[in-house]
């Protein structure tokens, strides 16, 4: 039981981590709590559904319930969601930045954007649930007492690859370095000749892309619904604040811890309160270590 919960927690955690990276980018680079980020997960999942509806999920490959078409759909959805995130910035957030609005105005605007984005999904795809594939899968015993679906193992592996690639990008590419410089100090970054608007654009595109992949993974395990992203919002914030908004590793470890806490909490407080667990974690962190586990005290 415990081992199984650990495995489930790591899987949920990996998905939360991918979403939480975008929230961290928001807090560090864009300097506001983006309450609309969770809707990018939902949009990514549904955009992939559009491609799956055209091309099909593909013939099941190996033990998986889908073929390469599903992965192509995920990449296209990631590109489009990155574009969507940038578009929302162009239409709303950039204008507010230029108006010199109150910093919290960005958060209010995110409330509004989230309402619109979530309900446009309802408008197009309806309230009900959708599936990428109805292929049945048999769980494999990966360790004694721990069963996982082949899809879940695949998702976990892919999430690790994505995080490593992102780490390399942030460490070695010019844009990645510029993003980290912005996170440290926007005015200093500007003084060093970094094009701030350019960095902001790439931040949105990356956040959107990562959110879309998290959304597709959520949709694969096992279904899509219009509130799928929104119901993770607290977990995303908890993970990114828990990890400390200073590093990529922070968001990833934060995500894993929140996923584990959620799944292990069933033993402690019962499944009815499972969704409150990220919040309890968050409250403890804010109270005892507001800079996060890995953040530096400002």
């Amino acid at each position: 039981m415990l081992a199984q919960s650990l495995a489930d927690g790591i899987l949920t955690g990996a998905i939360i981590a991918l979403g939480a990276i975008g929230v961290s980018f928001g807090l560090q680079i864009l300097k506001f709590a983006n309450f609309a980020h969770s809707e990018l997960l939902t949009w990514g999942a549904y955009l992939a559904l559009v491609f799956v509806a055209f091309a099909g999920p593909g013939t099941p490959t190996a033990e998986l319930s889908f073929g390469w078409q599903m992965m192509a759909a995920m990449l296209l959805a990631a590109l489009l969601t990155g574009g969507l995130a940038w578009l929302v910035d162009l239409l709303i957030f950039r204008r507010l930045r230029r108006m010199g609005s109150h910093p919290m105005s960005l958060v209010f605007a995110a409330f509004g954007a989230a309402l619109v984005m979530r309900h446009v999904v309802v408008l197009i795809w309806g309230h009900g649930t959708h599936f990428y594939t109805r292929e049945l899968q048999i769980a494999i015993e990966v360790l004694p007492g721990v069963r996982m679906l082949p899809d879940q193992i695949f998702i976990l592996g892919l999430a690790i690859v994505i995080v490593v690639a992102l780490h390399l990008y942030l460490t070695y590419s010019r844009t990645g370095m510029a993003m980290r410089a912005m996170a440290e100090s926007p005015s200093l970054a500007r003084a060093c000749g970094i094009e701030v608007e350019n960095v902001i654009r790439w931040t949105w595109i990356l956040s959107g892309g990562l959110a879309a992949m998290a959304g597709v993974f959520l949709g694969l395990t096992p279904q899509l619904h219009p509130e799928m992203g929104f119901s993770l919002l607290l977990a995303l914030f908890a993970a990114s604040i828990l990890g400390g908004t200073g590093s990529l590793a922070g968001a990833v470890i934060g995500g894993l811890l929140v996923g584990l806490a959620e799944n292990l909490s069933v033993f402690l407080i019962g499944s009815g309160y499972k969704t409150a667990m990220p919040f309890l974690v968050l409250l403890l962190v804010l109270f005892f270590r507001p800079q996060g586990l890995f953040g530096e005290k400002s």
Binding site: A113, V116, L282
Partner: protein
Amino acid sequence: MIGIFSYLVFFACIVLILGVMTLGLNLQWGYTGLFNAGVVGFYAIGAYAHAILVTAPRPDLIGNFGLPWIVGIAGAMAASALAAWIIGLATIRLRGDYLAIATFGIATTIQLVTLNWDSLTGGAQGLPAIPRPLSTWFGSPLGFNLFYLGLLIAIVGLVYWALERILRSPWGRVLKAIREDETAAIALGKSAQSFRLQAFVLGSTLMGLAGALYVSFIGFVSPFDFLPILTFQIWAMLIVGGSGNNKGALLGALTIWGIWAASGVLIAKLVPPAYAAQGGAVQVILIGLLLVASLLFRPRGLIGEVPVVSRHADD
């Protein structure tokens, strides 16, 4: 004709109840700069506290004391004040958007408690048959609604008057000073934390009052009355109406709820019942667009804050 009239009475009652909540949020955000994203949580505490205190006893529930209406109102305000005080002690020192995330989480947790603590809250079924004040005196629903409208006008008038008075007092000026420049306020010897906590508790008490007024009007309470979307609607009311101005808060409640109700009626007429979910989505999209448009094109809101200059400035 009578149908439209009784609908308008009902509509006005809801606007006034939402108005009390918006006034509470205005005290927190508009005057003190506290970002409470858990409005619906305090509203729920007030609603349930009232329902539990006044509803007739039932063997399967631990609450339900059958107490008089006014005790329910006072209890609801006390319960939400106490909750706000405890939550405030833990969170009030957080920077703006962190406070928003924390309070958002609190509201989610409160909703989970109302859903899962069956023996107190009736769980998903909620609590039915909440007595409405003096309802036996009135023969028709419209008669009661008119009476309740009068009651609400009196309560909103009282709340408005009291808020205006305290905000013009030295206490209110300290709140504004903290909002504008916390360091300066502290340098002048004001304990920013303690004033912020007071404003947070007082605003949340008003939200609790609104919850109690709502359930004693509707006569029923269920966890599904307290979804997060209500918080965002109240924020839209404050931003669109004009934060930092109590008249703006009330005007915002009227405007947003007016648009919400009118678009609902229109959609019900135009959209076939099979697409009711889509129609509901359009209603929410409208509110979201209105909030964003207001921030972009009229950041002060319909009637925003009025600049106040000291009356000694001319000397």
